[in-house]
Symmetry: C2
Subunit: 209 residues, 2 copies
């Protein structure tokens, strides 16, 4: 998305870009999506609004990129053993362990205020604004969900997942309860809960012979 630029201006551009991302996330967390404006982001980032207009076509585009940047940074900080999905879901051959690792990491991310507050603001707006919601889902959510599909298909090939289960539906049994509890704050979102979801989903609720 960055325009071609001379090498000596590239570091300054990266700094401005990061400042704009941070300003956009802070603002959307404070005043909500609707009241966040390009002008407000520019003022907070200490750049001219023309800088933003030159790089992004819309407020939504700034925010999408800011979220991708933030998620990438969170994953880097958490390190390669964290269940970071940026490199795909690990495949150690133990489906239960791999899914618990990833769901626990997701719990940690959702409980991190730096991610939580802007994510809530954007999700809430997507719930009432179908167009923004669709963009949010296709750019931010579906790439994550695709990683589950890949891991679940591998499990099917290894005989660890029922051959007749649709991975695209199966992943919703893992992600849906987590997001539901987080969004509606019904009960605390913990590692124990992540583990229970994986155990219940894989093992099923009816008694096994």
């Amino acid at each position: 998305m960055a325009p071609t630029k001379a090498p000596d201006s590239s570091r300054r551009s990266d700094r401005s870009r990061r400042a704009i991302h941070d300003a956009a996330l802070a603002l959307v967390g404070e005043v909500g999506y609707r009241r966040t404006t390009i002008e407000g982001i520019a003022a907070r980032a200490g750049v001219g609004k023309q800088t933003i207009y030159r790089w992004w076509p819309s407020k939504a585009a700034v925010l999408m990129e800011a979220f991708l940047d933030l998620a990438g940074r969170a994953a880097e900080e958490a390190g390669p053993q964290s269940g970071d999905t940026a490199q795909g879901i690990p495949d150690t051959g133990d489906l239960t362990a791999d899914l618990k690792l990833v769901l626990r990491a997701t719990v940690d991310e959702l409980n991190d205020p730096a991610l939580e507050i802007p994510t809530r603001a954007l999700t809430a707006e997507g719930i009432v604004d179908a167009q923004l919601g669709a963009e949010f889902v296709s750019k931010l959510l579906e790439p994550q969900l695709a990683l589950y599909v890949t891991r679940l298909r591998a499990a099917q090939e290894a005989g660890h997942l029922r051959a007749d289960a649709d991975p695209r539906i199966a992943l919703e049994l893992l992600i849906g309860p987590l997001m539901h509890r987080w969004l509606l704050r019904t009960l605390p979102l913990t590692h124990a809960y992540a583990d229970a979801i994986v155990d219940y989903t894989l093992g099923g609720l009816t008694p096994r012979p």
Copy 2:
């Protein structure tokens, strides 16, 4: 919540109350929770704003009651065979069939624009406003979830559900995916999806011997 009133004013009160409910739901669907005001509801319902202030302590209280009223009416229209949870979840002895009935009815409700639009507006606001969210959950959501706990405990007693499964977590495997798909509009919310959730959740995803 209704004050003591003379019998001859009671029918008029009921009409006003219903008009206020309808106005509140319509308004919150159109302009969102924050921009809905007591004055706006009064104007739309054709009553004085003092009437609303006399009956309800807050905008949130009007809306909570309006949702309960709307859900009650929807359940009445759908009839007793609809999987209406107002009378509890049916217990025919067939857990799979009973859960499919209820989840299909929930799909129908969520796809009904009269319920969908105001429910989205209130849910979105609860996601960013923790206090409103908590009120929404305790008054509207938890009473519904309690019906699942009751049905799932009965299934445990009948030996149809694993004895070591926590019904409060188990129900989230049913409700979470449904709400996730509806809120984020990832894929169509259909009866087939409701059935798949029940089958996957009860049977589990790992191969059975």
